[in-house]
Symmetry: C2
Subunit: 340 residues, 2 copies
């Protein structure tokens, strides 16, 4: 099944089923009006939604509407828990290498994870509002899963069974604020503003053949100001699978239905020491920080700027037939001014 | 007004108004069935609730019920945002002193803040389930506020106007997991399991004379295994007021109605270098870590153990007439075993 949430002006939006080809949608108020409601009662309601989904794809519903990605809110416009891992350890290693720091060996066995703001997600086509370009504005293309209720202390293998939906993420980061904030020792807070998610979240049966070992084996496409910027395969170099990430999150507390767990920035090692840009025949990158780190290692200093007002990032994933699976995240950075 | 959420078996519980003396309660489904609903529409619904509250206190409602704190869930059983500051910098300074580390001077001007799990709060009388005593189980007595919608970039002075409710917190901490986790650089995650809040959350007009300068000027009482353990005044040595903490949280993103902002562990400097236990005539402590730090500084090593299975912590605050304002957090630590 594919789900989206239409922005109807309410805080939680209106849940709709979206056809497999993303062309039509239908509201299902008889089953659930919001995605959180559906997740709260998944066992009971998912089979009912599946019936409607079959009819929607068969073209036999008279009440379906054209589906517009730009009319979507985040699948969960606000969520109770959003935790982001750093499963592509290559990305972390590059960060360290760029500042001549050793990476602790435990990073290969114990996931990094931080908790992000989940009360005010951006819509997939919403502008990214930032007060200053000096904050070092960056995108981070990632995969995320939404879980049902997960008990505390669950092993990784069993945690896989709690994945209900998959989507894409833009984990917006303010690189200029990170060193000071991490230096304080309490982790990210101001340096991670509102994240955005793909218009559509899908069940695992929509990913047949490409969802294996709790990883999504397809390229994640990042297009920056109209140019191909990254296409690393999300199934490659993912050190921790989603079962391991969920188990890490649930080690000392249960997770409530609707918890979102992110993969961290998708990054492929590419068989070279530094990775390679798409223009050089490589798979490129899922964030600007990574190319800057490679420039720093190679040239002694970064050459690519972080995002400026007006810059645009598009993040998408195509299936093996070239069809968009989740719809696109497509966002432009704009200047924010506080209206007192 | 005073609000509580009764545990009725549902995920969000049933919102009730509670009489000022905590003796009676009444459901207000005609206004809101959950506290989040009320916060989502505060301007419209609060005046309606105020009318019922007056009648409840006057004893003129025929449908009120006896109020039982032990039947309560957390005021918000699950919330979209829970961020905890460290406003009592004395506490932070002691942590550093115990390990012979200098505290950066910026800690006096730039608040520390971390985001905690908000999807599965513990009820105020619920057991604290932990898998191992080796995790270093500790309580942390704190004050917290609940905001309405706060715009990004708000100044501290204006942020004060967004405080809707006040309550108490037990920010349960696993001290044994903290050094390794903070050493990884991403902040707290597994070392901060589910927090708990007082049964009752109150509006500012309930705190007349003791809510000043966005601080709550009353002693926070911690009773550990039946013995008085702490009574520091929450209005003393609070370096950052709640307006400053909210403004810090909202610097790079808006806050959604229902955001909970905590004060960090309440701690008074007490005019001595090390602070003083209640038995020694001082105001004591709001967590075990603090007395252990003082023992370490004074004796070279800590003498007090962290919590063991069976230990009990009670956190409460009395008004100037000796009446409980928020009801009590009263929790026992028990062993958790994963049921596969």
């Amino acid at each position: 099944m594919k789900f989206a949430t239409l922005n109807d002006g309410s805080r939680d939006g209106q849940l709709v089923l979206v056809s497999r080809d993303l062309s039509r949608s239908v509201a299902i108020p008889q089953i659930a009006t919001t995605l959180q409601q559906l997740l709260d009662n998944w066992q009971q309601k998912a089979p009912q939604a599946e019936e409607v989904y079959q009819a929607l794809n068969a073209g036999s519903l008279t009440n379906s509407q054209p589906f517009e990605q730009s009319g979507c809110a985040s699948p969960l416009p606000r969520a109770y828990h959003w935790a982001d891992g750093s499963a592509y350890v290559n990305h972390v290693e590059l960060v360290r290498k760029a500042r001549n720091a050793e990476m602790p060996p435990s990073f290969w066995t114990d996931p990094l994870m931080y908790q992000g703001g989940s009360d005010a997600f951006l819509a997939p086509y919403a502008p990214i509002e930032v007060a200053s370009e000096d904050y070092g504005i960056d995108f981070e293309g990632e995969i995320a899963v939404i879980t049902d209720d997960v008990p505390m202390g669950i092993p990784a293998e069993q945690a896989r069974d709690h994945i209900r939906l998959v989507m894409l993420v833009n984990d917006v980061s303010l690189r200029g604020l990170i060193p000071n904030e991490l230096g304080k020792g309490f982790g990210f807070y101001q340096s991670k503003p509102s994240s955005s998610f793909s218009p559509v979240a899908v069940t695992l049966d929509e990913l047949e053949g490409v969802w294996q070992d709790a990883k999504l084996h397809l390229p994640l496409l990042s297009t920056y100001n109209g140019e191909a910027f990254g296409k690393p395969n999300a199934g490659v170099d993912m050190t921790f699978d989603f079962g391991q990430l969920i188990a890490h999150a649930a080690r000392t507390r249960p997770l409530c239905a609707g918890t979102i767990i992110g993969s961290g920035t998708v990054s492929n090692k590419q068989g070279t020491e530094y990775g390679t840009a798409i223009a050089e025949g490589g798979v490129g990158y899922s964030c600007i920080a990574e190319i800057r780190m490679i420039e720093t290692i190679r040239d002694g200093k970064p050459g690519t700027s972080f995002m400026r007002f007006g810059d645009r990032i598009r993040i998408e994933m195509l299936d093996q037939q070239g069809q968009s699976i989740f719809g696109a995240i497509d966002q432009q950075v704009v200047e924010y001014r506080y209206q007192g």
